[in-house]
């Protein structure tokens, strides 16, 4: 707090007045610098409603540095006059005086002095009058005393022209008593302390008000990545719907499980080098369930299980090629095959959310790797109506109305299921979507690079809200 004494003086000053007072007047009455009063006003304001202070600006006249010099030493012309002795002064010497040049011409026009050009020792200056009245100095003294009103406009402008006065704008306060006006200032406490609680002194203290406009101090904490927050929610939804998580921790897959087992023909464009990352090391997979592989080969090349097949020369070498899985459906295929091997069929609901890889052209919404969400239901007698019903439930939980846009769905073909040993009559419905797309929609991110990968701005991670998909 600024000088408490001064603040109290301001309050005392205000108490005597019925109306208000300008802070400048207070300064001049108390003979202190106006800035000190402003400081006192500000500290009083922070104490609550002791006073009310309305800011205003006013213009006033102030002496320039030269004007102040004149108040002390007299005007240039007076100084010239005073410098001239009875016997006169040579013009050359006079001009050497600090006020010489300005003072000489003014004193001449005032007819205080005369110049004798023909003097024997060269031009010489003599007094013309006995005494003078230095009105310039007098006027400036009035201004310094704050009595500018005694000068008329013409006089002020002339002094302004001589650069002795200047007009300045001053910001001041119009002070009036506040609703809780008092002449005593109680020192306000910044905050409650343990000592105050123990001693009970808090009862008598006044507390400095908090600034509720300011933000708090952010807590020191770690943060979860927004995409992973959304992943957690999707897991939650599947778990709520009774789906069991598939083991998708195998990024490397053989073409056999990634394509052939899904009845994807070997010449399919998705199996092109331009779309899929193949491996050079380890280049090929070994250990296939050979009897199943033979059935897959047959259904592709000759048909069977009610299918015409694709009727082409199915090659083992093509199926052996290792790759980075292009979809998690490769894992679904492994799981369904495993299910078929367990003897008696039991209905299942499976899900997974994990990375998949595509060797495709990258743009604002496509990266070489992304997360695929997949749901699979296998049971006797499932219908297309069931598929649509499950999708409806799932997307309702997501809070997404237009789900057609973000995913795809279908019924697995008999050519895929029957060679696995899944019993006839069992239908398998499935759907998939990317995790990134709904996350970008949820968090309003347009470029996938701002969400995934090492180039993301961690501030985005720090600032991202929690994920509630259904709200």
């Amino acid at each position: 707090m600024a000088d408490a004494g001064l603040a109290e003086s301001v309050l005392e000053r205000l108490e005597k007045l019925d109306c208000g007072v300008d802070s400048q007047d207070v300064a001049s009455v108390l003979s202190v610098d106006h800035q000190a009063i402003v400081g006192a006003v500000k500290s009083l304001q922070s104490l609550g409603e002791l006073i009310s202070a309305e800011q205003r600006s006013s213009k006033h006249w102030e002496l320039t540095a030269e004007g102040k010099e004149i108040v002390e030493q007299g005007s240039h012309e007076a100084r010239v006059f005073n410098a001239i002795p009875t016997e006169g002064l040579s013009q050359t010497d006079l001009m050497k005086l600090p006020s010489g040049k300005v003072g000489f011409s003014k004193a001449m026009s005032n007819k205080w002095i005369r110049l004798d050009k023909g003097h024997e020792s060269g031009p010489r200056v003599f007094r013309m009058v006995e005494s003078i009245e230095d009105t310039v100095q007098d006027k400036l003294v009035q201004v310094q005393k704050g009595l500018t009103g005694k000068l008329d406009e013409k006089e002020k402008n002339e002094l302004k022209k001589r650069k002795l006065l200047s007009e300045v704008t001053v910001k001041s306060y119009w002070l009036t008593k506040g609703p809780s006006f008092s002449t005593t200032v109680t020192k306000q406490e910044t905050d409650l302390t343990a000592e105050m609680i123990a001693s009970g002194t808090w009862r008598d203290k006044k507390f400095k008000p908090y600034n509720f406009e300011a933000l708090g101090v952010p807590p020191e904490c770690g943060h979860l990545h927004p995409l992973m927050k959304v992943r957690t929610q999707f897991r939650q939804i599947f778990l709520e719907m009774g789906f069991t998580e598939m083991p998708t921790n195998n990024f490397i897959e053989s073409s056999f499980w990634n394509f052939d087992s899904l009845f994807q023909p070997q010449q399919h464009p998705a199996r092109d080098q331009h779309d899929t990352f193949f491996l050079s090391d380890p280049a090929v997979a070994k250990d296939f369930p050979m009897d199943y592989l033979e059935r897959v080969k047959k259904v592709h090349s000759e048909g069977g299980y009610g299918s015409q097949g694709y009727k082409y020369d199915w090659k083992l070498e093509e199926a052996q090629k290792n790759l980075l899985r292009t979809h998690t459906t490769a894992v679904s295929a492994r799981m369904l095959y495993k299910l078929a091997q367990q003897g008696k069929f039991t209905p299942v609901k499976y899900f997974s959310i994990d990375r998949v890889f595509r060797n495709e052209t990258l743009d604002a919404t496509h990266l070489a790797e992304f997360h695929q969400i997949e749901g699979v239901v296998a049971d006797y007698g499932l219908t297309l109506g069931d598929l649509m019903g499950v999708l409806h439930q799932f997307f309702t939980k997501l809070g997404l109305k237009k789900w057609v846009e973000v995913g795809n769905s279908g019924v697995f073909r008999p050519e895929m299921l029957l060679p696995m040993g899944i019993p006839e009559g069992v239908s398998v419905i499935a759907w998939g979507l990317s995790l990134e797309r709904p996350t970008m929609i949820k968090y309003g991110i347009n470029n996938i690079r701002e969400l995934v990968g090492h180039k993301v701005n961690l501030q985005m991670v720090y600032d991202s809200p929690i994920c509630r998909l259904d709200s």
């Binding site: 598939m246 921790n249 380890p282 694709y310 082409y312 060797n359 069931d386 073909r413």
Partner: protein, 573 residues
């Protein structure tokens, strides 16, 4: 008459298509190249429709209109017939043994007395191009050649010759060239250069001659100029050479079923006798109709509807799958026309029935399937640890599983040959050379991209790396790792060490030499000498921690000291 755009959109949806957008040539050019370029372009309305990948019969306007008219029951689906030549002697197409190693298959047909208009002609050319791009797999599986039959005379010979022994005037060129010269010429052709690789390195190129030695085409690259078709062409000879006979038959069937509409006898196609090297002969086009029997009950059960067999037969007929009830129970006989090569199983018939019924008319039901959900234990552990690491003040990063060799080897002061990394054979850029073997490079790159943020930076990631492993069927396996870094003005080994202690506490592993975990001095090129320790849990090495080597810090474009923790979490399952 005209129909409104909304009505057309609705019709497309009912028919299983998606109306992508309504635009014009002018709009497209204006969008891609600006208004100035678009000034003179056509503003005729274009409808862009997404067609399912295997519905080749909907790729041209002729097929699409026919399909929609049948669907709307304006017309009956036409019956496509292969007919003999008027003089009883079919055109002959002879395949020689020389083609066997290259493109051993060929099929052919004649469209007799066809009438082209500019629109029909353009559509004819466009369909060839669309088929070349998809089912023909950019001409590698099948290549189509179309010729003015009146300019050539059979029998035709399909053979293969050394490139220098092949000489002809190719389509739209003025001079004759050898095949070698042509291949050189087309290197710079924006369109044809994409097909050169199919035969480029072969000692012999496929070539088709007529009985006078006139070159019809050099598949799959270019036709001869001599036999090119024009608006005035009356009789079209179509040949398809292929590595896949099934696809060649489909492609030929598509071409002739779509355009025989414009023949003097609509929907008839004149046969061609193809003679194989072994002397056997086949008549083409195939135009095979197949019949399937399916019970109405099966369709109802799979779709989830209750329609009579008669009603289902009507729905299928509207989808160009002519169907009739046989009278035996609820049995339906379905005839699959040559245009519907996509129908290879009864399930495809059911899908069409569902589509004609209207997907939106099928009642949504809840499956009765009762199951208990289980989390994958590894993922459950990862989820629980992620929350605890964030609670410990570390922020989760999400980095790529693929990276450059440099990231996991050179930059860490290691040799790629010493790593267990799996290598990608066809990366388009260095960013996708290998799968990561450690999470550390991703975290360090994340730090580098965020150097402007206030220090310290504390990051973690729990995710999979990939390691070669002979014991699995594919020769590699994933490994779930926990990696954390502390980046500050001071190395903060004690911070990262404290994090390890906290993680072990969470995993209920006590600090102990024999019954828990401890750390012991180790050396690794990643870490500063004397500032690296190995983590031993229950007698097994499970990871390491330490202060990063200044060389590693520099190579990742970082400037401050950094400590790191790398832990395999699978032993703690």
């Amino acid at each position: 008459g005209y129909i409104a755009d909304e009505e057309f959109d609705e019709l497309c949806f009912e028919f299983g298509l998606e109306l992508d957008e309504i635009t014009s040539e002018k709009d497209i050019i204006s969008r891609e190249q600006g208004d100035v370029r678009a000034a003179g372009a056509s503003d005729v309305v274009l409808y862009k429709i997404d067609v399912p990948a295997n519905r080749y019969d909907l790729l041209c306007l002729e097929g699409l209109v026919r399909g929609l008219q049948v669907f709307k029951q304006k017309i009956e689906a036409p019956y496509y017939r292969r007919v003999g030549a008027t003089d009883g002697k079919p055109q002959r197409f002879i395949i020689t043994q020389e083609t066997a190693v290259l493109r051993p298959h060929a099929v052919a047909a004649v469209l007799r007395n066809i009438t082209f208009t500019q629109e029909r002609y353009d559509s004819f050319i466009e369909l060839q191009e669309k088929l070349h791009q998809n089912i023909c797999r950019k001409r590698s599986l099948v290549a189509i050649g179309t010729h003015d039959l009146d300019t050539i005379s059979g029998p035709f010979t399909y053979t293969a010759k050394a490139p220098d022994d092949i000489c002809f005037k190719p389509l739209n060129q003025k001079e004759e060239s050898t095949a070698t010269e042509l291949m050189r010429l087309y290197k710079n052709d924006s369109h044809l250069r994409h097909y050169l690789h199919i035969i480029e390195d072969e000692p012999h190129y496929p070539i088709i001659y007529d009985s006078n030695g006139v070159v019809l085409s050099m598949p799959p690259i270019i036709n001869g100029d001599h036999s090119k078709i024009s608006l005035k062409t009356k009789n079209v000879f179509i040949e398809c050479t292929a590595t896949d006979l099934t696809k060649a038959k489909i492609v030929l069937d598509m071409m002739v079923t779509m355009f025989s509409e414009y023949c003097a006898k609509p929907f008839t196609v004149e046969e061609v006798e193809v003679v194989c090297p072994d002397g056997s002969t086949c008549l083409y086009p195939d135009l095979a109709y197949r019949k399937e029997l399916i019970s109405g009950d099966t369709i109802n059960q799979k779709v989830g509807i209750k329609e009579s067999a008669e009603s289902l037969a009507r729905l299928l007929t509207r989808m160009c799958l002519k169907a009739e009830v046989t009278g035996k129970a609820d049995e339906i006989e379905v005839e699959i026309p040559p245009t519907r090569s996509d129908v290879i199983h009864a399930c495809d018939i059911m899908e069409d029935a569902a589509m004609a019924y209207g997907f939106n008319n099928i009642a949504r039901t809840k499956p009765k399937t009762y199951t208990i959900a289980n989390q994958l234990p590894l993922n459950k552990l990862s989820e629980l640890l992620r929350l605890e690491l964030a609670a410990a003040g570390f922020t989760e990063a999400l980095t790529f599983a693929l990276c450059s060799q440099e990231d996991i080897a050179d930059k860490l002061g290691k040799k790629i040959s010493d790593s267990r990394a799996v290598h990608i054979s066809n990366p388009k850029t260095a960013e996708f050379q290998v799968a990561r073997t450690t999470l550390l490079p991703g975290l360090l790159k994340t730090l580098a991209a965020n150097r402007k943020l206030p220090l310290p930076l504390k990051l973690f990631e729990i995710s999979d790396v990939v390691l070669k492993d002979d014991t699995t069927d594919v020769g590699a396996r994933n490994n779930r790792r926990l990696c954390a870094v502390f980046y500050n003005k001071i190395p903060g080994f004690e911070v990262i060490h404290g994090l390890l202690d906290r993680v072990m506490q969470l995993l209920d592993v006590k600090p102990s030499r024999d019954q828990g975990y401890y750390i012991q001095a180790a050396s690794d090129s990643i870490f500063f000498p004397g500032r690296c320790a190995e983590i031993i849990s229950h007698g097994k090495s499970v990871g390491c921690l330490g202060v990063l080597h200044p060389d590693v810090i520099n190579r990742f474009e970082l400037t401050m000291p950094c400590s790191a923790l790398d832990l395999d979490i699978e032993p703690f399952l």
